[in-house]
Symmetry: C2
Subunit: 411 residues, 2 copies
Amino acid sequence: MKSDLDKFMKQHDIDVLFITGAAQHNPAMIYFVGTAHVSDAFLIKKRGKAPVLFHYPMEREEAAKSGLPLTSLSKYPISELLKDAGGNYLDAMVLRLKRMLEDLDIRSGRVAIYGKDEIGPVYAMINGLEKLMPGIQMIGFVRDEILSNAMMTKEADEISHIREMGRITTAVVGKTADYITGHKTSRETVVHTDGSPVTIGEVKNLINLWLAEFGVENPEGTIFAIGRDAGIPHSVGTPSDPLKLGQTIVYDIYPCQAGGGYFYDFTRTWSLGYATDEVQALYDQVKQVYDTLVSELEVNAPFSRYQDRTCELFEAMGHPTIRTNQVTEVGYVHSVGHGIGLKVHEKPWSSTTNSSPTDILAPGAAFTLEPGLYYPDRGMGVRIEDSYVVTPDGRFEILADYPKDLILPLK
Amino acid sequence: MKSDLDKFMKQHDIDVLFITGAAQHNPAMIYFVGTAHVSDAFLIKKRGKAPVLFHYPMEREEAAKSGLPLTSLSKYPISELLKDAGGNYLDAMVLRLKRMLEDLDIRSGRVAIYGKDEIGPVYAMINGLEKLMPGIQMIGFVRDEILSNAMMTKEADEISHIREMGRITTAVVGKTADYITGHKTSRETVVHTDGSPVTIGEVKNLINLWLAEFGVENPEGTIFAIGRDAGIPHSVGTPSDPLKLGQTIVYDIYPCQAGGGYFYDFTRTWSLGYATDEVQALYDQVKQVYDTLVSELEVNAPFSRYQDRTCELFEAMGHPTIRTNQVTEVGYVHSVGHGIGLKVHEKPWSSTTNSSPTDILAPGAAFTLEPGLYYPDRGMGVRIEDSYVVTPDGRFEILADYPKDLILPLK
């Protein structure tokens, strides 16, 4: 939680957090500012102090909505900076950063950098700053344990945002099922009244429209993939593919609040009309693993325990897994879950190679559980994914329930 | 154009372009890859060679849609990297970058970095790489003149994408006008049949819905602001505000193709029912400046010439401008235009303080013209914005036409 930030900063010997970029699709900035029409801003938080938002003068009213202490960048006029920097634009930008820090009485220390922004200019500026202020050390983390750890355990209002996104997500999935099952079939294909096939692309357009009707976004797209595509976990589907009966459809949907707020993440696998024995058997195995995992969830357990457990269970069923072959593209090929919040993938991590001792199912954590099996050459893939939260008293609650039927019966 | 890249790399003594991040809302990556479900990828282009896309194995089919030479990151197994890096994850990631570069026969040189990505981890990795490969120098530009200059002059297919976005944008603006003018009024307010006021928020929700129906996105939102908000150029509007008659509405809409493709940028100012003399006079002045600018456009002219000209014209009318007062918040307070493309704001720049000799209206450039006047304390603001392209033979074409009526007559 935000209130843990100073503690985490101290643990990692960090004096200042420095966050760049717009308050749009930029989790670190949005965590403090909320989604607002604030672009190219800087947020600087000194340990033990409230964060200060440095914004462009034109965006002052939007910036004020954050409720944070503000400083307008008009305090540092470009013409003056350029004069003081001998006309060099980069040097002027670096000088501005220096003056911003000094205005917060920061003259030395370890500064952790965050934000989703254009790498080139930020890299040039922070390199320049280190040269101009030799007491300052700028630090980036490939595995952040400060901001990410604070963000990992959610406060009640954050969970209610995610739960609301779950309600919207499953409502859209329900509309999708209703739309498909409202059609006739012809020659093993879902068809319109004029006999033309219903395609993956049409369904995806409708999904986008329904999401927009709910006022939410899907900045990273939606997976709606049939047959061989369903067997490739990150294939998003081929727009021209017709909806054929008896083939697996993997429907993975991960929308967020407008402007890049909280995400949800949800997957169902469907087989239209009927399921072949082979598909049904694969589905039953994934469902069995899903149910086993849910029954074994324990508060404060390392998330990676469930990744190991998933590999163990699938291996016992005879499937290759990424534990037995790190680069396998058949069988169980990904990790069993991840945190969700302002990023669709965040801490806690379940990967056994990519997690730390802090990747635990702590109270406040919101995370996915998503076992799956993939056999692209057999034209099939199955994944079942729900999102859960650990309550303050250590119980596990599903954030949005939805039926897990494999077969969608058609007219 | 892309074909100029090697020339620009040579001019600036750059041996390699290094681009990080997803092919979603990341202009530098999308420029080469197109919008695709490719996350956390790396694109490396050696001068004189085709760019190579390094992608995660799960995303191989999406990556293949780029048509680029591919290398799967499964070529560099994490377990092996970790072993060779003594178990340190950051060092393992740095080692992977080193091996990727070496596989392209890059062992030294000046590497320019691009991409919209999480600053922290990228900063950590490129700093590490410089230490591991002392012959490599990583370089970020606050004013890039390589990739940005190539992107500035568009090829025919890029212009047709922008033109199509212009068609969609103006269609949505037309729907907005039709929706508003289809209502009754009561007590100087646009109302529903039940007498309740139509609000800014309702109209903005409909704009989002219409954009979604066209299959496009507005990742940076839409400005639909009335009265005092219209006088603050980057206020996006207050959702609860009712649509009052006789007040300026600034409607600035800048959507992009799904996933972060090409943008359009367009503004109209409306006054519902009637215009006060004061509003009409302000509007006429902006329109007169707009018309003057259009009549004076010259191929290969520095874009900043038109910023100076706009200031000159508005100053002659008695308005403060940012030329007379760099931090003014009334009068003419911004720059007169910018390039559009995979970014909503890109080269050429028109700012007199923030442009370079390459910011010219060259053939292939797509750009906005958007003079405006702002008086928040008088509850009004006016901006007129269209987007233009310079044709290969040096003519100026508007990319999407739309009426410039100030008054929207109501029932």
